[in-house]
């Protein structure tokens, strides 16, 4: 992977009308208004954003279509949306409202045909397979669905291969145990999955400082996504939306 083509993507979590940040998929803390955050990220020249509604699936709700349309309308950059997408019509409605990519996590396991269906109509680049990974009591990585609340028995590498076969254009690979912890990405996981599939992998969960992003890319990821890193500053986790300047990113990822 050539360094300067790597993408660095803020990953933002929606709950109701607001933006929240979690630790290990728990303890959601309010961090602001998504529209305001999008405006800040516009000005910070971010190339891409991921929005995930963390309650849509667990509360059995549809994606918040109006809110997403508002967000997509405000954003200068492409938006990937995930959360509560269970049907082709929902995906179509999201694309129509300006979303570029739809992420499927629970549906990837429960309704794999949907991946193929969306990819056939909107192209593979429009479908992102979300794989949320948690270590079980034996220390084995296992894919989880429903916001990390339900086990699937899938090994993440096997699920990633299956997703690629189904026509997913990309994998959003999140280590639940690392999410919000600042400990760095689960690099073993990133390596294993990146090596196993021909499609790009977005590493997510654990970024606590800029060098962590580079580590994920070096481990084989095409992109590194981060939440806390681009939302918080300092020991008190002060909310301060930030993103490295281009020169800093080049310095970090180039060569």
């Amino acid at each position: 992977m050539i360094g300067n083509s790597a993408r660095i993507i803020p990953c933002l979590l929606l709950r109701g009308e607001g933006l929240v940040k979690t630790v290990k998929f728990r303890n959601a803390k309010y961090v602001g208004d998504p529209i305001n955050a999008v405006r800040l990220f516009n000005d910070l020249e971010v190339d891409e954003l991921i929005f995930l509604d963390i309650e849509a699936t667990t509360k059995g709700r549809e994606p918040p279509f109006e809110r997403i349309a508002e967000i997509a309308g405000e954003a200068f950059m492409p938006i990937c949306y995930g959360g509560g997408v269970t049907s082709f019509d929902q995906a179509a409605r999201l694309f129509k409202s300006g979303v570029e990519k739809v992420a499927l996590t629970t549906a990837l396991v429960d309704n794999p045909g949907l991946v193929r269906e969306i990819a056939d109509t909107f192209g593979e680049q429009a479908v992102v397979a979300g794989i949320d990974v948690k270590k079980d009591w034996l220390g084995k990585s296992r894919a989880m669905v429903r916001g990390g609340g339900r086990k699937t028995g899938y090994d993440p590498v096997a699920l990633a291969k299956r997703a690629a076969d189904l026509g997913a254009g990309e994998i959003l690979l999140t280590a639940i145990d690392r999410e919000g912890t600042y400990q760095g990405y689960d690099l073993e996981l990133v390596k294993a999955v990146s090596a196993a599939v021909p499609i790009p992998v977005i590493a997510c969960g654990g970024a606590g400082e800029l060098p962590h992003l580079r580590q994920a890319i070096d481990a084989g990821a095409s992109a590194a996504a981060a939440g806390s890193l681009f939302i918080y500053k300092g020991p008190h986790r002060a909310v301060l939306v930030n993103y490295p300047r281009r020169a800093r990113l080049r310095e970090l990822l180039g060569a």
Binding site: E17, G18, L40, G234, P235, A238, L240
Partner: protein
């Protein structure tokens, strides 16, 4: 305001758009007198000021040596608060910076805060107000046609400061207020800052009235505030020969601070609120305060100030853009916002408030009893 009763100070540019303004026999306004008095009694310049600052810093270091911080500072990304941060570090103090995010932050303000805490190695604490709640409160103040639309933010900042002071055991707040450049302030141009009774009455009548998380004081805390408060505040710029130019040079060089053009233009809302809403709806021109300060200290002439007041508050095309932006962000149609702009102004006194409760007959009796008991129990000299 009828033109017959219009009158302007002979020394500065304050006028009867301040309903409480009083003129002396020479036509000089109360604000000019208050300003000169404040400068004479509260400002210490040169070695005297520096000496006082250093003594204060030593005192704070001693008092808080067992705490993680020596003082609290509020930061907005603006000139004054950035300079306070610089000065506090220059004095060798360990400040905790506190920022309140009300959803209107500009990217430059956010970047200024980020650069500042990095350059000075300061810890930051933020509170983010729930935007849906805050939006509803701001909408209520606008629908009520009140000039106090920024009062809820100020109230929230005060509340957060108390919470942070309690959480870290540090009750000294070093502030960026200063009597030299911040004077000529008409009380009626914005009021009720500590009075959550007022804020909640406006919100009850013109908003949904439902508040889950908006930071606010309760009535006993409000009473305590009136009697000296939870925190000790020191306006350190009164001791530092403060000038905006000096501060700008310092923070641009040392902190990588970026200008966003114009005092209090750190957010679109503040710019619109001061430059469009207050001026067009209430005829409150906050530039008069600032220009009068400058006249009072001899930095500009009265004629120069009057010429500036003939200019628009800021670019008129941008004012129009801001009208659209503010309407959209607060969930008004342009027609609704225009109707608000055209509606007759309302005032603090039109609403229920804790202040009114304190002045009312019921509390008046409590106060009389309290004074009687206190008067008997303690010698008068011991009262504070």
């Amino acid at each position: 305001m009828s033109n017959l009763s219009y009158r302007v100070c002979t020394r500065c540019v304050m006028d009867t758009t301040d309903p409480d303004i009083v003129f002396d026999a020479d036509g000089v306004c109360n604000h000019c007198h208050e300003h000169l008095h404040a400068i004479a009694t509260q400002v210490h310049s040169g070695q005297d000021g520096r000496g006082r600052l250093e003594a204060m810093a030593e005192d704070l270091k001693r008092r808080y040596r067992d705490k993680p911080y020596d003082c609290i500072i509020g930061v907005s990304g603006g000139v004054d608060s950035s300079y306070v941060a610089w000065l506090v570090k220059d004095l060798g103090l360990r400040p905790l910076a506190v920022h309140l995010d009300n959803g209107w932050n500009s990217v430059i303000a956010v970047r200024n805060i980020a650069n500042m805490i990095e350059a000075l190695d300061i810890d930051l604490y933020t509170h983010v107000i729930d935007w849906e709640e805050y939006k509803d409160i701001q909408r209520a103040f606008l629908k009520a046609s009140l000039p106090d639309v920024e009062v809820p933010t100020d109230h929230a900042i005060n509340t957060i400061m108390f919470k942070v002071a309690a959480k870290f055991g540090v009750r000294t707040v070093l502030r960026g207020g200063n009597v030299v450049t911040e004077s000529h302030h008409p009380a009626r141009w914005s009021q009720g800052h500590l009075d959550y009774g007022y804020i909640s009455d406006v919100h009850r009548k013109f908003g949904s009235g439902k508040v889950d998380t908006f930071p606010h004081l309760n009535f006993p805390q409000f009473l305590k505030m009136f009697r000296g408060g939870f925190v000790e505040t020191i306006d350190i710029l009164n001791f530092a020969d403060y000038s905006r130019e000096k501060a700008l040079a310092r923070i641009e060089t040392d902190l990588g601070w970026e200008d966003y053009g114009g005092k209090h233009h750190e957010s679109v809302f503040t710019r619109w609120f001061q430059g469009v809403y207050l001026l067009r709806k209430f005829d409150f021109d906050k530039r008069k305060m600032h220009l009068s300060s400058l006249i009072s200290t001899g930095e500009i002439t009265r004629d120069q100030a009057r010429a500036k007041l003939q200019q628009p508050t800021y670019d008129e095309a941008l004012q129009e853009e801001d009208n659209d932006f503010v309407a959209k962000k607060l969930g008004f149609t342009r027609a609704e916002l225009d109707a608000i702009m055209a509606a007759p102004p309302a005032h603090f006194e039109d609403f229920d408030s804790w202040t009114r409760r304190l002045d009312g007959p019921a509390f008046g009796m409590v106060k009389r009893v309290y004074r009687m008991v206190r008067g008997k129990a303690q010698p008068p000299s011991a009262s504070s």
